[in-house]
């Protein structure tokens, strides 16, 4: 139900984008105003969310330690899994964010009934997630060719790397295939794996369908229903140089792509997609396990009622005395 609802919603949004590209009067709205508004929402929204997180302090050191602590000099500490220094924390975070270290912990070679060595579904999740995120980053960077003039060599080099196989014209980008494949897998997994289906919310499917919509419309424009690339760049460049134009040559499919992207940008700060920023802030990962070495201050530490020694001694004085234990006051 959640899946179907999100699919319908994303389809409707795509249709809206298409209509926006068809109707002459709406083109400035969909080609200039909405993208600006969405991007602004993205910037402000992300900043707001990060600042809200920042406002809540981290009162206690609560890293999840995944290896040997640094204690006695002759015991080798696990510097990355249980870092005690800032450098170690940086290493741990780099592994987490670049390679999804913790998710990888799921995978293991195992003997499933019989001698067949197989990797579990969990390994696929790690691979799918990793491919999706890296492909997405690659594609975003590649898209800089639409926003920068002249196009820097780095962007060209990235694209060159990406169309390594040089299939067809325009040549096939590997990341396009990987992204679509990974997204498809992540969606399929939500639908097929009963555990994950049970925990999936409307928002989970919505994000996936939205990303798929953007990917599919982009792939269509590049490989199937060609669009005037020069005009597309003209529009994109217009947006980032604050001299927006909507060239006539830009077709409705491009508007689908642009509108879904705008929706994504505007939706991003208010959704679970903020895990992008959150991953950096997680106190179980980004703190050094040095809480006995260094004192850490809780900014809201407040006094609490305690049962003092004096009260305790007063209450049990006779018994303490009878047991022959020392007293503060006789």
């Amino acid at each position: 139900m959640n899946a179907l609802g999100s699919l319908v919603l994303v389809s409707a949004l795509a249709g809206l984008g298409f209509a926006g590209g068809q109707v002459a009067g709406l083109r400035p709205l969909f080609g200039m105003i909405i993208p600006y508004a969405a991007f602004l929402t993205f910037l402000l929204g992300v900043s707001y969310r990060i600042l809200v997180w920042m406002r809540s302090p981290v009162p206690f050191r609560i890293p999840t330690t995944c290896g040997q602590q640094k204690s006695l000099p002759w015991i080798t500490p696990s510097r990355l899994e249980n870092p005690s220094s800032t450098l170690g924390v940086i290493g741990r975070m780099a592994l987490e964010i670049g390679l999804f270290r913790s998710l990888f912990r799921n995978t293991r070679a195992e003997l499933r009934e019989g001698p067949r060595l197989a990797y579990g579904e969990a390994g696929l999740l790690w691979l799918g997630a990793l491919l999706f995120h890296w492909s997405f980053l690659f594609i975003v960077l590649r898209h800089l060719r639409f926003f920068l003039e002249p196009v820097p060599g780095v962007v060209n080099a990235l694209a060159g790397l990406d169309n390594f196989f040089q299939i067809g014209a325009p040549s096939l980008y590997v990341t396009d295939v990987l992204l679509a494949g990974a997204l498809g897998y992540l969606l399929l997994r939500r639908l097929v794996n009963p555990q994950v289906r049970y925990i999936s919310l409307f928002a989970d499917y919505f994000a996936l369908f939205l990303l798929l919509g953007i990917a599919v419309s982009g792939i269509l424009m590049r490989y199937v229903v060609r669009i005037d690339t020069v005009a597309a760049k003209h529009l994109a460049l217009g947006l980032v140089t604050f001299s927006p134009v909507v060239p006539e040559e830009v077709g409705p499919l491009f508007f689908v792509h642009l509108f879904l992207l705008s929706v994504l940008a505007a939706y991003f700060p208010f959704s679970k997609l903020m895990h992008m920023g959150g991953a950096f802030l997680s106190p179980t990962r980004n703190l050094a396990n040095n809480s006995r070495m260094k004192r850490h201050v809780n900014p809201w530490n407040y006094g609490v009622p305690v049962h003092t020694y004096e009260e305790w001694e007063d209450e049990f004085r006779d018994k303490i005395k009878a047991a022959g234990l020392p007293l503060e006051k006789e």
């Binding site: 993205f42 900043s47 926003f147 060209n156 014209a169 005037d228 005009a231």
Partner: protein, 131 residues
């Protein structure tokens, strides 16, 4: 230890990165201008409509290549009813004589690097005209 500086710094870095195109183009003093092409003077129409050629000329060229190399079919009937030879250098570049001022302007603008010139040579005549 307060991590506010670190977080704000990270956020500013992130905002800077995602708005990079704005700064880049501001620094370059750029506005959105599409490339200006030197259009042929002698011919009035192309083998296919302009809109089609703009978006899909690579499809046409790839089809031509396959037809010529694999099927040996060398003639193409254009939209205007005329017959053309399926030839990049012979047909296309007969009108669009200057690669640098026609092909490359758009390709550079859109950061596209077609592989045409890895095999095809610009004919001497074309090069001469360009000069």
């Amino acid at each position: 230890m307060s991590d506010r500086g670190l977080i704000v710094g990270g956020l500013v870095l992130f905002l800077g990165l995602v708005t990079l195109p704005v700064w880049y183009n501001v620094a370059a003093g750029r506005t959105a201008k599409p490339p200006e092409l030197t259009l042929p003077t002698q011919a009035k129409s192309c083998v296919a409509p302009v809109e089609y050629m703009r978006a899909s000329h690579m499809d046409l060229l790839m089809t031509w290549r396959d037809d010529v190399v694999r099927q040996g079919e060398r003639t193409f009937v254009g939209l205007d009813g005329k017959t053309y030879a399926k030839s990049l250098t012979g047909t296309c570049m007969a009108c669009h004589v200057n690669r640098a001022e026609f092909c490359d302007r758009c390709h550079d603008y859109a950061a596209v690097t077609p592989t045409c010139w890895e095999c095809h040579l610009e004919s001497r005549q074309v090069q001469r005209t360009a000069r």
